[in-house]
Subunit: 324 residues, 2 copies
């Protein structure tokens, strides 16, 4: 077995995933645990919220530390927010990868580093924020050297989709679209879908494509004027509730992609790099394709691990800096 | 006291309002009762859902019928839907007012008439439906003679905002935007507002105006890319949660109004007539004004009563037909 080098952790609101890695960032072992929200509420015998994170981390990594001695760790996600272990303040864009790594906040006497989120003024001159995605951006820059040249667009689809503009390897700005959150709310709580079987396990591909195509037929229209079709096409006997769910997804992703391309891509000819869970990046790739835009898909977990590895290497002074 | 002529009723999903009227439609007395959903579930001693509506109607109007004898009644809203007393099938657009009145479905041996909803193929060639609003449309046509000439746009803002195109006094087509439903979901269930005090009793007018103005600064943008500002401007310390609620309302109504005007108003120079609850029509009037469009506001309850009166008069053959 490889020699363990460090522990990489993605500690979100509702989920923790710790990976034991060698110095190159190859995974040797992994464990899951409670998200930041749950950890905060755990009774670990201590009063202090931060101590609950310390206790949780210590108990989940005890076996590894027993085998390999004290290992450094790099964690990202909501663990660095107001509901986390300690606040890792946002780094303002434009931000270089090295700046982000150097702004990590240490806990446990420097054994554990927490990656900061990013802030910017977006295209609408509004404040914008991300946390957790910065690590996937850092990873994407490591995994795809082409991303470090010229102007590039990354899209990280999810509950809060992030559209990120890279310029010569630094994060210039980004824009948040709460597409996944709006989708889940409309699917589960509006009259639009009302699927008696509950959320579909697998998306109805034809209905998704119809949603995309119908939106793209009149892309100047506002989303609000298309949403009721999810319901009315059911009332009219055209589609089932399961298809309405996929149709809704098609409309929302088409609106997100069309709008973002118009806002961000004026002068960018390179393919958009999608970073996330493969089923979701596939849907976004379809929407980009329908807009005549090439897409490259990158697995979100791999990008995350590559980002955490980059930070660890940078912090241990062994990082190879690529053109930044 | 005036001689009672008929009973006008607005029987929606969650609310029933019955008004005792003279033959001209002037209100003499009124009562409220359970909505259609609740009525369906009532135990009135009968097994039959329809009988529960009969019983509820009979008991609420008993005093009036004791004073004035058996009075005819006209009811509109979800009482005519699958969850109602009896189904009053949708009338397809284009539809003349007389056609809508003549398609009423009678119950209780012809004492009670239920107004049908409307269906159309909308601007996107999707099926669209309304029920309850047809009565307000009929009333608006009675209350404002100018609406019976040329091409006109009515807007009935609400949970499901209806944009209606009138042509020479008939209902040519309409379009549904679930703006109010999306607003309530995002306000109450998303991360965007999170007002610890609960929904604001009164809207923050400045924040609403900011939401309108910011959307109108970049009306080509898709709504999805503006929504996160409700949260990020709070995180950035620019606005409170109460202001975020109003800002969200401004963004949504601006998107609804801007999109609908672009879709429907190409050749229409007349003011848009807003029919609904005054606090809401006022917000829509602001949004129309911000788009350089004149708006007239009409009280929704008055329009409803005028519509029910029109139907009653038509059914009793005493209707005066205005230019249709």
């Amino acid at each position: 077995m490889d020699e363990a080098g460090f522990i990489a952790g993605d500690w979100g609101t509702s989920h923790l995933r710790l990976v034991l890695c060698n110095a190159h960032g190859d995974a040797l072992d992994s464990r899951t645990g409670p998200g930041a929200a749950q950890t905060r509420g755990l009774d670990t015998g201590t009063q202090d919220a931060a101590a609950r994170f310390t206790d949780t981390f210590a108990s989940l990594t005890a076996r590894w530390q027993a085998s390999y001695g004290v290992l450094p760790a790099v964690l990202s996600g909501m663990v660095g927010s107001t509901i986390g272990w300690i606040q890792a303040p946002y780094v303002a864009c434009p931000a270089e990868p090295g700046q982000i790594a150097d702004a990590c906040v240490a806990v446990r006497d420097g054994q554990v580093h927490i990656v900061p989120g990013l802030s910017c003024r977006n295209r609408f001159d509004a404040p914008d924020f991300l946390r957790g995605e910065e690590t996937q951006i850092l990873g994407a820059l490591q995994l795809d050297a082409a991303l470090r040249r010229g102007s590039q667009i990354l899209c990280l689809p999810g509950t809060h989709t992030k559209w990120v503009v890279l310029e010569a390897g630094l994060v210039r700005e980004f824009l948040t679209a709460p597409t996944g959150e709006v989708f889940a709310l409309l699917r589960d709580h509006s009259v639009l879908v009302r699927n008696p079987l509950g959320p579909a396990a697998e998306i109805d591909a034809d209905a998704f494509t119809d949603g995309l195509a119908h939106f793209n037929d009149a892309p100047h229209a506002q989303l609000l004027h298309r949403l009721f079709e999810c319901r009315s096409r059911q009332l009219g006997g055209e589609i089932t509730a399961a298809a309405a769910e996929a149709y809704l997804s098609g409309l929302l992703i088409a609106s997100d992609v069309h709008g973002a391309l118009r806002l961000l891509s004026d002068s960018i000819a390179a393919p958009v790099v999608l970073v996330g869970a493969p089923p979701l990046t596939r849907l976004y790739a379809s929407a980009l394709g329908a807009n005549g835009c090439e897409a490259l898909e990158m697995d979100g977990d791999q990008a995350s691990l590559a980002g955490l590895t980059y930070v660890q290497q940078r912090l241990s002074q062994t990082v190879i800096v690529h053109g930044v």
